[in-house]
Symmetry: D2
């Protein structure tokens, strides 16, 4: 893929990504007004680089062209939404799935069912509509919803080099499973503390 | 209206305005690819100020509240699209009116039928959908499409102080009608020149 | 130049351009507060495309590399500032030239001395400082200040195809000189009207 | 303070904040090129709200005016920089302190000397120059540099309600000190792993 082809490829993905970020901001703002609580700590958006698209196509045994990328990849545009707690993730996911003009392409709940290494996150791929001169088209955007602790875990795991080393791979794997547990406990303790305090102030 | 109320009022209008700017950029980009020509010279967006909203409500004999503003004003959010020529305006307007998720609220063609003072512009008010936690809502955005010459005329007319002065109001009115004519002639001459050159190169 | 090289080349120019736009917005805001008048109608920024950089290097008889571009081109980053009147242009230019951390690279006043074809604009090339890990560097940004009428003229002239045609080149040249004159007269009439009205209201 | 006064107050702080974000992006980009590693995970900027400014002035025993805010507050504009590791924090801080046009207003290293409750972060307040029509002025921007683990800790501590409750305050305090320790250990383990792997690959 030439750089020019790549730039043309990602144009509409960039627009859809901006559109999705806006939808998330509107939902967050709406929640803040209703429940007095901000659900989103921060968001991070990215468009896959040319190199990353090509290596992913290669892994899938596809040709490295813009057409194949459009057809086979659903994570060219991605936004990661770091939430304050699990409740925020659930609320946002539910609201997104109700937006009538989006197309739900894929849903994967790695929070209820974490990956074997301890990875947790809620993934949603939605088709976002774009209006062109002669009609409408959907482009996929991958949304990852996770708490700050899940994000810290994923970053530590990603930065660790244990996967490359035979000798202490097993020890590190166990360590990361333990980290995952510790982080979950911290977040849960604080969440429960908030909930109880809330209940004491507003008994049903 | 308190400033806080105003800030809350304009929140969703700001989002819809951004959404509309994006739609226009996508259309412009699409045209550039199809016809090799950029249709838009530049865009200018504005959200009505608190003072301006209040004085407009007053003129309409309404109370100066956010609710009345939401109900009676359709130009709280506005984007002005300055095009290179009339053909661009017509193409963009047609494409916008075909976008299935927008609601056409009002259309006013001051190009075909200029105002008495010489004002020319094509106005379209559309309802832009916003998805909230519990459903979808439309917010109006006013789109003004005009050429650079129409924009220069409007700016000169707006900046001129003749309206305040009894004595030479008539002379200035005639002058602006004449300016309007001169500016139209300049743009038309260049547009025709382009068209003929195009035809000579690509005879049907 | 490979696209990747181009992307790396323009990175710092993009930053400096954003920095310059910000400086202009701050000045405009400051003027609005002091004189009650907005000086800037709108701004347009652009980074030269790869093709445009290469063809310019070719014209200059240079190699088409990023290094040569950095060394020989001073308009890779450019911002066009469309002002409401000549007074605004003069005030902004004066304020920019006083900003102590900028380096004045080049100044060209095509308003006082228009080009032969009628082109008018005030050009300023300034070096904008960027702070890196190990020190500071200047990158040039070209600033073009012009009124709306000058901008309309430049656009019409640019879009006209007369330069390609032998037969009526002379007629068109004269026509554009006349357009330039007519447009200047319109702007000047309105400017004088404003000035007189101002004087009547605030006699010294 | 009226909302209008507040809006005018924060104008230049907003510009300086944008300027600072840009400087940080340029440094991050520069590091990525030099060391092949991105130092910044993400940034979060905020302008203090009107309510927050007023309550801070009240605490300081000052009048709630824009002038007092300008004079006594140094955190009206703030940017939080979440880094991948401690090394990134140190490098960015060093580079910022070398930028000749900034004024170092205050430096506080809560990483070397954490607060009693376990809070860690590196704080820097710098004066950022703004050029007005008639000269230059500095506006303070507070920069907080911290790792992802420090940021998670701060968020958990901030969200916890233990401070309001007499009965288990002591238990929670100890818990947060322990969290702080656990989080530090996780980050350090991964940082050391990276360092050793790096050394093995590039022995001096």
């Amino acid at each position: 893929m030439e750089e020019k082809e790549y730039q043309e490829l990602i144009g509409p993905y960039r627009e859809c990504l901006g559109n999705m970020e806006n939808r998330l901001k509107i939902l967050a703002e709406d929640y803040r007004k209703r429940y007095g609580e901000e659900p989103i700590h921060h968001m991070q958006s990215r468009i896959k680089t040319k190199d990353s698209i090509e290596s992913k196509l290669e892994k899938k045994g596809r040709e490295k062209t813009a057409d194949e990328a459009r057809y086979y990849l659903r994570d060219i545009a991605g936004v990661r939404v770091i939430c304050y707690d699990l409740a925020g993730i659930r609320k946002l996911a539910r609201a997104l799935k109700k937006q009538g003009d989006l197309e739900i392409v894929k849903e994967k709940d790695y929070i209820t069912s974490p990956k074997e290494n301890g990875y947790k996150s809620y993934h949603l791929v939605v088709g976002v509509p774009i209006y062109r001169v002669d009609g409408m088209e959907y482009y996929p955007v991958e949304i990852q919803l996770r708490t700050m602790a899940m994000d810290l875990w994923a970053s530590l795991e990603h930065r660790s080099c244990y996967k490359r080393k035979e000798e202490d791979r097993q020890a590190w794997s166990e360590r990361f499973l333990q980290y995952s547990l510790l982080l979950e406990q911290m977040e849960q303790a604080v969440a429960e503390d908030r909930e109880q305090t809330e209940k004491r102030r507003n008994p049903a």
